[in-house]
């Protein structure tokens, strides 16, 4: 990345030329204290164990967009699976052996004429069990407010520029459903197998702010 900002002073800059971020040495917030207090109480009262809490954190950290990518790749190669996915995405993901928990999932498909993008304006609802933890920007006020207001400008900032012939459909996860976008299958991938295709499916393409990678 070029550094075209003024080079008048490098004091307080990292070796890569960026300012150091302040250490997070501030006091705990009210809700952080509440979380610790309730967790310790539940452990003290024997409701959960420390090991169970640690396992849950590890299980959530271990989730990644790989399961979502596998679902998309299956939909690309298997038209019957694609139909089942569009009808009932929770059942289709479970059919592949993925534990999506209590998640109610809807899959929306990008085509030549429709581009889908997912946002949660009220909070930060995200299909974590299928895509892992959301990126920080997904939870930002700017993404949440602008995606429903000027979706094409937001998409352009992510590098996705759409023609006027394409309809943009924004999905605001306001209540009980979570959403995954099935990106369009890239051209030139006709001979690729499911595992190789899954490697083309990025997290951003399943949120709708990106496209699937081109092969090669």
């Amino acid at each position: 990345m070029p550094h075209d900002h003024p080079h008048h002073s490098h004091e307080g800059m990292s070796p890569s030329g960026h300012p150091y971020r302040a250490d997070q040495d501030g006091p705990l917030t009210y809700w952080q204290v509440m979380e610790i207090a309730i967790r310790e109480l539940m452990i003290a009262k024997g409701v959960v164990t420390e090991a169970e809490v640690a396992r849950q954190i590890e299980a959530m950290d271990a989730r990644s967009p790989a399961q979502g990518a596998a679902v998309v790749a299956r939909a690309w190669v298997d038209p019957d699976f694609r139909d089942r996915l569009l009808t009932d995405a929770s059942a289709a993901a479970t059919e592949m052996g993925f534990d999506i928990g209590p998640l109610k999932l809807i899959a929306v498909e990008n085509t030549d004429t429709v581009h889908n993008v997912v946002v949660c304006t009220l909070c930060s609802c995200y299909p974590r069990n299928l895509l892992g933890l959301p990126p920080d920007w997904y939870k930002s006020r700017a993404y949440r407010s602008r995606t429903v207001r000027e979706p094409r400008r937001v998409l352009a900032e992510f590098g996705v520029t759409l023609s006027d012939d394409t309809t943009v459909r924004v999905h605001d996860s306001t209540a009980d459903m979570r959403y995954v976008v099935i990106p369009a299958r890239p051209a030139g991938t006709e001979t690729m197998d499911e595992a190789a295709l899954a490697a083309l499916v990025t997290r951003d393409s399943m949120i709708g702010v990106g496209l699937a990678r081109m092969p090669g």
């Binding site: 000027e150 979706p151 309809t167 943009v168 924004v170 999905h171 306001t174 209540a175 009980d176």
Partner: protein
């Protein structure tokens, strides 16, 4: 508040312009806006009761599709859409 009969997909509906206090899942930017039912999601526990630990009524939940031009009259791309999930008691038929 009465819960309307099931709206079939395609039914035009308006989001009520209520401003109740407390936890609601109907975004303010859609209140008073008109859209069409995209699909019926079936009964879901009312989050406005669930959030406070009250016994929650099972309500039909709808995906409603709005044109950007309806939600934002100055939109440059009025035919793009926003789909949102809205509980039955927030919707009125036109």
């Amino acid at each position: 508040m009465p819960v309307p009969d099931t709206f079939a997909p395609g039914t035009p509906v308006r989001v009520r312009t209520l401003m109740p206090p407390g936890h609601v899942r109907t975004p303010a930017y859609l209140r008073g806006k008109t859209g069409a039912v995209e699909r019926v999601l079936g009964p879901f526990a009312n989050p406005e009761q669930l959030a406070y630990g009250h016994p929650a009524q099972a309500l039909p939940l709808y995906r409603v599709r709005f044109r950007l031009g309806e939600v934002w009259p100055d939109s440059q791309t009025p035919n793009d859409t926003i789909d949102a999930e809205i509980y039955a008691h927030w919707l009125e038929p036109l």
